[in-house]
Every structure is written in C-alpha cells, then in structure tokens.
Symmetry: C2
Subunit: 212 residues, 2 copies
C-alpha cells in the first residue's frame, strides 16, 4: 500500500491530501502523520525515507520516495487517471500547469516567506529542508506584497473562468486554495472588492476535499 | 504555427529552448526573441500576450498563452510525446517531477536570488513579473548557500544514477543544467570534489540541445 507522509496542520501536505481526496483514494493510501513541530522530519528514520526531510512525500511499494507536492500529484495523476485533475488534453495540461505554478510561486511561497521569516519558532528555518537558513525579516514584507498580487491576478482570472486552471476543477484550484488559506492564517483576507475570487473561494471551500 | 517567446541570454527560457530542441521541434515552432534588457516584456504589446510579463511563453494557434517554464514543457510533452522527457510511466513521471522541482527551487531560484538582489541593472526587479520588488541583499548570500546544497545533493544523486531524474535523459537534466550554468555565470563552479556531478555536466553539456 502506498504511504503518504502528511502533517495535518501544514499547508504544503494539504495540497496532496486534497488531491488524494479528489481522486477517491483516502482509504486506498496509508496516511502517516509526521510531527513537524517535534522535528520528526529531521530524525535519521525519516531522512532514510526522504533525505530532503520534507513532507509531503509518497512512499511506493518498492520503497521509492517521491517528495515535492507537485511531483506527488504528478505520480498520482499517472497512476490513478480518474478523475483527471491535471488536464484532459495538451492545452489544458499546459494552462493548468501555468496557473498551478503561478499560485505556488507567488501565493504559497509568499505565505511561506511571511511565516518562516518572522515566527520565533522558525528561527534558522527560513527554508524547508535539512540545511539551516537564517530568517530574513525583509522577506515577510515581500511575501505580503506577493499575496496581494495573487489576490489581484486570481480575481481577474476568475472573472473569465469558473475555475482557476480550466473549465473543470483541477490541481490549480487546489494550490490556489492552499495559498489563499495560508494567507488567511496570517491575517491577510481576500479584499472585499475581489468578488470573483470570493465567489470561487466559497465554492471550492465547500467541496468535501477541502475539509479533509 | 506555435510561437515561442524566448530571450537568448536568459536562463529561464533556455529551459524551454532545450526542451524544444530535444523534441526535434526547432524548425516547427516560430521562435521570437524578446528584448528583456530593453524592457520589451513590459510593453503593452507583450502584456497583451502574457499579462505576467515573463518569458518563456508559448502562444498557440488559437491565441492561448502558456507561460511558466514547466508549463511550457508540460504542453509540449502532451502535444509532442516523442521522445518522452517527463517519464514513461507513473513512477518515472513522479520521480522526474521531484528532481525537476528540487533543481528549480534551490538551483534556479538560488541563482536568481543572487543575480536579482545584487545587479545594479536589476534595481526593483527582485522578482520577475509586472510588480516591482526591492532588492534584498541578504538573499544573495542565501542563494549562494542554496547552490552549494544543490551541488551536494546532485553529486550524491549522480553517484547512483546516470541522469538526474531517471535512467533516461529528462526535463530534470535540463533544469539541473540550467541551474549549474546559471551558477557558473555568477562564478560558482562545481566543487572539484564533486566528480559525479562534473561527469554528468560534461556529458549533458555535450548534447547538441545544450548549445542552441
């Protein structure tokens, strides 16, 4: 049985957890909680599974480890094609990947820049992984500005499209939701003027997968 | 005919240019040079094509724009499957995506952090895109440290594998090469002790696609 290394409160593994739920695989994959707060990802036991010391990660039956959120999704999409979450044809695949990457880059990373460079509990944890990186306080402000930009471009996108990536729900909606929710946890709400984004957010948040 | 918006000297569009070359598509796609130094990506004409004001970008026959390097590759892989550069089965697809993302994240982004946060010509261009971001000098040092980490993990990976992503050449090798070469341009060479990485770099650099 495939193992999914998760951490319930963290935004990054939530991307893959939602993907698993949307694929209807919650009871076909073993979910293992990793205690990030307690540093379990830095233990020799976990480093043997994923030397990059991050979650999410998948462990296949033959022991292969796949880490990085988008790579976990890519594996699952190929192994369990239905329902398609990464595009039904070449154009959709490209456009969805574009929006997914934009939401990760400015949205998710923007949120991470805010959190990791200010939280006292994240001293020397400016970036994920086994190497220590000092906090850079100026990144918190940059992260805030990136999130504002994500709010703006998503609101514009959602004026012309029901979903972020295509005319069906996709992994781009998942990464966008994670970015928006991560920002909310840091007290950055969707601006009131952004009606399209709010409409989309209400709709996506109501899906059962958003609550797993 | 598909258009590819390129900028010959820049590392990011080179990822897609190499991908196009490996697919044998150099004479089937129209390549349009965008003058980044002259600010052509910020003109209203280019913003109509890609509102995020970045290259690389593809423009399909129906006018659809696909930007973000990995999304351009994803489209091309689906539209022109041979030779496969993103995995021949689910496991390969996942493992290649993992290594590709790691090389982008710490390698390519590490290089960008160094360049964008120090070069006088990149004042207020701390990040790509239409929004101005101030330079954060501390990121240059962080970028340098990330590149050292990439050199280390790639050398280890290439001790056990001929290629970065799988036992065939893939998009993970492309992104790794771009990251290594971007670092070299900033005077960070592969450490002499990293024989596996140097062996791989010599081999990949000798491919015709690496010279386009």
């Amino acid at each position: 049985m495939i193992k999914f290394y998760d951490c319930q409160p963290a935004p990054s593994p939530r991307r893959v957890r939602i993907f698993i739920a949307e694929k209807g695989l919650l009871d076909k994959i073993e979910i293992v909680q990793v205690d990030l707060r307690g540093g379990q990802h830095f233990t020799p036991e976990f480093a043997r599974i994923n030397p990059h010391c991050t979650v999410p990660a998948l462990e296949l039956d033959d022991g292969t480890c796949i880490s990085e959120s988008i790579a976990c999704c890519r594996y699952l999409e190929a192994a369990f094609p239905e329902p398609p979450l990464m595009g039904r044809n070449a154009k959709e695949a490209g456009v969805i990947a574009m929006w997914e990457h934009r939401c990760e880059w400015d949205g998710f990373i923007g949120g991470a820049e805010m959190l990791r460079n200010t939280a006292p509990g994240m001293k020397d944890r400016g970036l994920t992984g086994p190497i220590s990186f000092e906090q850079i306080p100026a990144l918190a402000e940059r992260g805030r500005k990136r999130i504002a930009w994500v709010h703006d471009f998503l609101d514009k996108r959602l004026a012309e499209s029901e979903f972020v990536g295509a005319d069906i729900y996709s992994v781009a909606d998942i990464t966008a939701l994670i970015a928006i929710d991560f920002a909310k946890r840091q007290k950055i709400a969707i601006p009131e003027s952004h009606k399209n984004l709010q409409r989309w957010c209400d709709q996506i948040s109501a899906r059962p997968s958003s609550k797993v």
